[in-house]
């Protein structure tokens, strides 16, 4: 038997290979088996030996063959192959490479970043609002124990109503559920100096108000119980931080000072911390309320809050309060019968259901915008993936693993999205500033708006999720290089990629349609609302508030003298056509309501649903352009004459159905217990909001009920009403420089303000929809341009074969139109499903409004046609020769 091993070791000249016993053994076995086979075939031993050795004989040495074939692969280029070093350094290389790619493709990067900035920016801005309004805990200690309490008179149509002084005091004395129970009410305090007067926004609070909220003054002390009783030393004041800064320049010695408020000296006893901005950011002062047990139980003015004892639930406390209310109703049937109590948590009170719903609609809308942006960037990446097909194929051919290519592409997408996220964050900061500047009152707690770690986290997370979402599919597609496809289709990309791009465009169009439908409904609502007849003539009308709370006007008589003179002076001003005063002007904010009793009615005590009441001077209806039948109030109506009232049409219909109320009598609790004779019926006015139907309103004469303070002065002018602002103020100052005249607004401003939050909704959603439309069109434009560039050769052939350019145009347009129509159909279906959630935001239009559902698709198709037309025209002008040669 020949010694094959020795032969092989001799031929393997390389000692390192020759020393590998296993290789030598394996090769020797092979040669040996060959030898045996040859012998079996009948060869002689010598012939078989020669033949077998042929296996290991070559012109090139055996060792060389081995070495060449077994050479370890050459180290790969950093971006091409598997990382050899540590993971971090290879990711660093990927990042640098990604950055270079982004800089290189500036057009692509710019478009993608714009889409991402808009998407992430809008989302972050809305999220920061949601975070502030809904997610952040209320700025009080243990806010879950805080409760807002109302009186309620369902029979009168008042589900929530302020509490009366004696009722509040009885609740406080009798309940065992609350650690503290506090009441407060708004007050305007006139800060007077020698030549000027200013109204400060304050609240009168009980001494346990701050302890209930868990807040202590930053300087000084809280009110003492002896300062919170009628007849006590109530001339003490606590300043808010903002007012302390503004008025006293943050002087730490402010506690020694006194302020003249309403003509009387008040000692400053404390300053609230800066963080205190409870519901009213413009609040300036706190003064003692001193609740008075002697006041009428029918006079409901107090807002009540309480802190539950630990372990007591709101339901238990409510049960106890209901029992107390029932007891009071038995004890004081004239004022308390039918009155009960309603509880809400602070969160439900401060962030009402409707605000939350609005925010969620907006959040949904921006999420759609982000999805569209993702779709856009994904479609851009897909197109670019096709262009980079050769690069990726070469890398793969050089041995780069798919996972490595995938990682590189994902890092590029993530880098893009992180830059987009950072830009979006900056955009969100800008958007928030705009929001605060233009719509500070659009939502509760908006004054607390700021960016915090949660918002930053959200922006980062949405950027990363976006990056993965739009980066993954194109990366998966691109990292699956297919040599034959690449060769076959040039830089075109496969049909699967094309399908994916079509799918993205259809999705973007569908989402934009859904958003546009939402925005369209809001625009239609707003349009309807602006055309609502408010019930008064808002042109050339100026209003202003006048506050007579100073010591010089202690009673109705003094005030009446002041207003009589003011009205006659103002009427004499050039440019003033009419002038009147009123306790509240329509849409001026605030409301007053009264119980109504009808005489001689069979049912029960004759109590019927209540009415809003207003105290107006003679000439009020004429000044505001409210139609009036019967007679107006006049100077002959005094406290001594027969009490008279004017009803609104709605009140007349409600209380005297089918009858003429003029000459009939009615009891209105807010004007006293005497029956009042109806002397006229005035047109209905939307007093509280344009979107709310005018409820029953009753009017009393300011010549009789002259104690109300502050009053509005309204003037009808011959020209521009705002031009008379200075002369109105001067007229007040001429009578008494210590009387503050403030809140000067034209009726147009009042209407605009009352529409503020709806306008805000409309602008916001409209803005999102516009972004969505823009992004969808950019997407469509991109896909159609790409399609044209892909089909250049095909189009060239068609043109060369004599196709009319018009038919090429139609070909491309119909392709784009097909994608758009599919998207529109899906979007309309989505819109039908989604707009139901917007019902409370709408006015005068149904969520399925035909006009919107028809015009939005038409708009989108029209815009899409424009987006397709440019590439289609390009296709039409393809030069067949150039097109064919380029392939």
């Amino acid at each position: 038997m020949p010694d094959w091993k020795a032969e092989i070791v001799r031929r393997l000249a390389d000692p390192t290979l020759a020393s590998r016993a296993d290789i030598v053994e394996e090769l020797a076995q092979h040669v040996d088996q060959r030898y045996r086979t040859l012998l079996a075939r009948g060869l002689t031993e010598a012939a078989a030996y020669e033949e077998a050795l042929q296996e290991v004989t070559d012109s090139v040495g055996l060792a060389d063959t081995f070495r060449t074939r077994m050479r370890p692969p050459a180290p790969e280029a950093p971006v091409l192959g598997e990382a050899r070093g540590n993971l971090l350094s290879s990711i660093g290389q990927d990042l640098r490479y990604a950055a270079r790619m982004l800089v290189k493709n500036r057009g692509f990067t710019a478009v993608a970043l714009i889409a991402l900035t808009l998407g992430v920016g809008a989302n972050t801005a809305i999220f920061s609002v949601i975070n502030t309004v809904m997610l952040r805990p209320l700025p009080f200690a243990e806010p879950e124990r805080l409760v807002r309490i109302w009186e309620s008179f369902p029979e009168g149509g008042w589900p929530t109503f302020s509490a009366s002084h004696p009722n509040f005091l009885d609740w406080r004395a009798k309940n065992t559920s609350f650690e503290q129970l506090a009441a407060f009410t708004d007050v305007g305090l006139a800060l007077t100096s020698q030549n000027d007067a200013e109204i400060l926004r304050g609240i009168a609070v009980t001494a346990d108000y701050l302890p209930t909220l868990g807040i202590s003054p930053m300087l000084g002390r809280n009110f003492r119980p002896d300062e919170d009783v009628p007849g006590g030393n109530t001339r003490v004041v606590i300043l808010t931080y903002g007012f302390w800064q503004r008025q006293f320049g943050g002087d730490p010695d402010v506690l020694q000072k006194t302020m003249t408020l309403n003509g009387a000296p008040f000692s400053v006893i404390g300053v609230l911390p800066e963080s205190f901005a409870f519901a009213t950011p413009t609040l300036e002062l706190l003064v003692p309320l001193a609740p008075d047990p002697a006041r009428s139980r029918g006079d409901h003015r107090l807002r009540v809050i309480g802190r539950l004892k630990p372990g007591t639930t709101m339901a238990q406390a409510h049960a106890e309060f209901s029992a107390i209310a029932a007891q009071l109703a038995t004890q004081f049937p004239a004022s308390n019968r039918g009155w009960t109590v309603v509880f809400r948590s602070f969160y439900e009170w401060l962030v009402p259901e409707q605000s939350r719903q609005r925010l969620l609609v907006m959040a949904g809308a921006v999420a759609l915008v982000l999805l569209i942006a993702c779709g856009n960037v994904a479609s851009l990446l897909l197109a670019r993936g096709s262009e980079r097909q050769r690069e990726i194929s070469i890398r793969a051919a050089l041995g780069a693993a798919r996972s490595r290519i995938l990682r590189q592409l994902l890092i590029e997408a993530l880098l893009l999205s992180l830059i987009g996220g950072a830009l979006g964050m900056a955009a969100a900061v800008g958007a928030n500033r705009l929001l605060l500047a233009y719509a500070p009152d659009a939502l509760p707690r908006l004054n607390e708006l700021s960016l915090d770690a949660r918002v930053l986290g959200f922006a980062l997370l949405s950027a990363i999720v976006t990056g993965l979402l739009f980066g993954l599919v194109p990366a998966l597609q691109a990292s699956r290089p297919n040599l034959t496809d690449t060769l076959k289709e040039g830089t075109g990309g496969g049909t699967r990629r094309q399908r994916l791009r079509h799918l993205l465009v259809v999705g973007e169009v569908a989402l934009s349609v859904a958003l546009l439908i939402g925005a369209g409904l809001l625009i239609r609502s707003f349009w309807r609302l602006q055309r609502v007849d408010p019930g008064f003539d808002g042109t050339r009308l100026l209003t202003m508030r006048v506050n007579l709370s100073g010591l010089r006007y202690p009673n109705g008589d003094a005030r009446r003298v002041f207003y009589d003179r003011l009205l006659s002076d103002v009427r004499a001003l050039p440019g003033v056509e009419q002038a009147a005063t009123s306790s509240i002007v329509p849409l001026g904010g605030g409301n007053t309501s009264t119980e109504v009793k009808l005489l001689g009615r069979a049912q029960g005590t004759g109590r019927v649903p209540g009415a809003d009441w207003r105290n107006v001077s003679p000439g009020y209806f004429r000044t505001l352009g409210i139609p009036l039948r019967g007679r107006d109030f006049n100077e002959a109506d005094t406290a001594q004459s027969q009490p008279v009232t004017i009803l609104s049409e709605a009140a007349a219909r409600q209380y005297f159905p089918g009858e003429d109320p003029v000459g009939k009598t009615i009891i209105l609790s807010s004007f006293g217990d005497n029956p009042m004779t109806v002397i006229g019926v005035a047109g209905d006015v939307r007093n509280n909001a344009l979107a709310t139907d005018a409820g029953p309103t009753v009017y009393g004469s300011a010549t009789v009920y002259s104690g109300w303070n502050p009053m509005f002065l309204a003037i009808r002018t011959a020209g521009d009403p705002a031009a008379l602002t200075a002369s109105m103020r001067a007229a007040v100052r001429a009578i008494d420089a210590s009387v503050p005249a403030y809140d000067v607004r034209t009726a147009e401003e009042l209407i605009a303000q009352s529409l503020g939050s709806r306008r805000f909704n409309m602008y916001l959603l409209g803005c999102f929809a516009a972004i969505a439309l823009l992004l969808a069109c950019v997407g469509l434009f991109g896909v159609m341009s790409y399609l044209v560039s892909m089909r250049t050769r095909d189009i060239g052939i068609r043109l060369a074969l004599g196709a009319a350019p018009g038919s090429v145009l139609r070909l491309i347009l119909s392709h784009g139109l097909l994608l758009t129509t599919i998207g529109v159909a899906i979007g309309v279906a989505g819109g039908l499903a989604l707009t139901g959630t917007m019902r409370t935001l709408l006015f005068g239009v149904e969520p399925t409004d035909t006009v919107t559902f028809v015009s939005v698709p038409l708009l989108l198709i029209a815009v899409a046609l424009v987006a397709c037309y440019v590439p289609a025209r390009h296709a039409m002008r393809v030069d067949p020769l150039i097109a064919l040669r380029s392939e």
Partner: protein, 119 residues
């Protein structure tokens, strides 16, 4: 004639270069085999048209093993000398599937070219 022979040799060499890997992987798809068995099967199944010598077969086997497509293991059976058997790995199976596809496309491409020539 001479020209034709030269082309035939080049074609043979090129085909072998490109096809050696799938051939080996395919032969190991069913069960593990040792080197000699592999060379015999190639020869017999190609009716002698393709033959790998030790100098081309084993370096290739070692290379594929190094790539992780194959795994070689010495096996001793009663009454026989020990032999090194090669088994295809999971990675090897995936590579084989890809190479099969590539081969099919390549063959289809050739067919197309041939058809065009005939047209």
């Amino acid at each position: 004639m001479l020209v034709k022979n030269v082309y035939a040799r080049i074609l043979d060499r090129e085909l072998k270069k490109g096809s050696a890997e799938p051939i080996i992987l395919a032969l190991l798809e069913q069960r593990p085999r040792h080197g000699y068995e592999i060379s015999q099967m190639i020869e017999s199944q190609s009716d002698g048209a393709v033959r790998f010598k030790v100098t081309s077969l084993y370096p290739l086997l070692y290379k594929l093993e190094k790539r992780g497509w194959l795994q070689g293991r010495w096996v001793e059976k009663a009454g026989q000398r020990r032999r090194r058997y090669y088994r295809i790995t999971a990675v090897g199976r995936r590579v084989l599937a890809e190479q099969r596809q590539g081969w099919e496309r390549f063959a289809a491409a050739i067919n197309r070219i041939v058809e065009i020539r005939h047209a």
